[in-house]
Symmetry: C2
Subunit: 174 residues, 2 copies
DNA sequence: AGAACTTATCTCAACGTTCAGATAATCAAC
DNA sequence: GTTGATTATCTGAACGTTGAGATAAGTTCT
């Protein structure tokens, strides 16, 4: 079997690890557990974020585009390339997202004066109002998601995740 | 601006946090950073796992089903309900996955003797051989993904993720 | 037994993404 | 300046998931 922390509740990954140690005990179960937890937590977090975005009539991908434009500062305008790098999706996905947001009147496409290949996507006033109204609640929602950790634990977790991200090359300048 | 750890490389989320503190400085940036890192890391990990699965002719969802059946122990057989809970997807997704794996000859559907509504999905010998051959490399791949953390840091990260998972109710018995 | 409810799985349309490829513009080098 | 390579975006088919609903079987209550 596997050593368990007696004083804490078991999670689903504990069971998964137990199953592996019964059936393939020679496999190193620590990375299975750690990456399993990372992925399962991500699903839970996704769900919690999506529920909040839906209150504002948005899905996660739309919220992400609006937030990226908003945090870029005035004039709240970026080209598609910047949006796809920030979102870690393909160019086709950005085309579709901008199409949808544009149909909702939250962003508009403008030709880029310097580069006629490029398109500048800009928040409309309605888009800015929406994301400005939604952000404080979004952050409160994120705080709620992390509520189980005390301040020191949050700093620890953030540092560990960052260390892995740096190792994986997630260091592009925006 | 934001306090930075001077001795470590910056990651993309550091830039995102800087942008927010310039344009909406009153927002609490810690949860933005932490959840942003969790989600970005998950994308990187997904990609790294998928690349390995592809070497064995599988995608992530197929690997997940085979691994779930394998770790359940002999006779490597579960009903669809158990598979969807483990994978955190809907029943329709499991139907499709089992269809695909069945077409590849890696699993087979059998009627459940006790409950005629239920279907038992079982690894075929070919399916068992494939997942048994793939697991050691998969674990080595996961170890590589985590290579930037020393043993103590891995234990810390695992404990923090587990704490959040328990708080979010990821505690179903398998 | 019969009715009402729950559970297990499958079906199918809608949707968003990826992947490959098309188009068009810019840049580099000769 | 023209050729060739690169960059920016869009297009469209293929794919997997979701969500709602259908079917069928098991369960509970009277």
């Amino acid at each position: 079997m596997q050593e368990q922390e007696q004083e804490h509740e078991r999670d689903t990954v504990d069971d998964i690890v137990d199953q592996w140690s019964r059936t393939r005990p020679e496999l190193n179960s620590q990375p299975i557990a750690l990456i399993g937890r990372l992925r399962r937590l991500n699903v839970r977090v996704d769900t919690a974020l999506r529920e909040y975005f839906a209150e504002h009539g948005l899905d996660s991908s739309e919220f992400d585009v609006l937030a990226t434009l908003r945090r870029s500062g005035e004039p709240y305008e970026l080209n598609a390339r910047a949006l796809l790098k920030s979102a870690m999706v393909t160019s086709g996905a950005i085309t579709n997202r901008v199409d949808r947001l544009s149909a909702k009147g939250l962003v508009e496409r403008n030709p880029c004066p310097n580069d006629r290949r490029a398109v500048l996507v800009r928040l409309t006033p309605a888009g800015k109002d929406l994301i400005d109204a939604a952000m404080p609640g979004h952050v409160r929602n994120e705080e709620r998601i992390l509520a189980a950790l005390d301040p020191e634990e949050r700093v620890q977790l953030d540092a560990l995740l960052k260390k892995l991200l740096v190792a994986h090359g997630d260091t592009e300048r925006l």
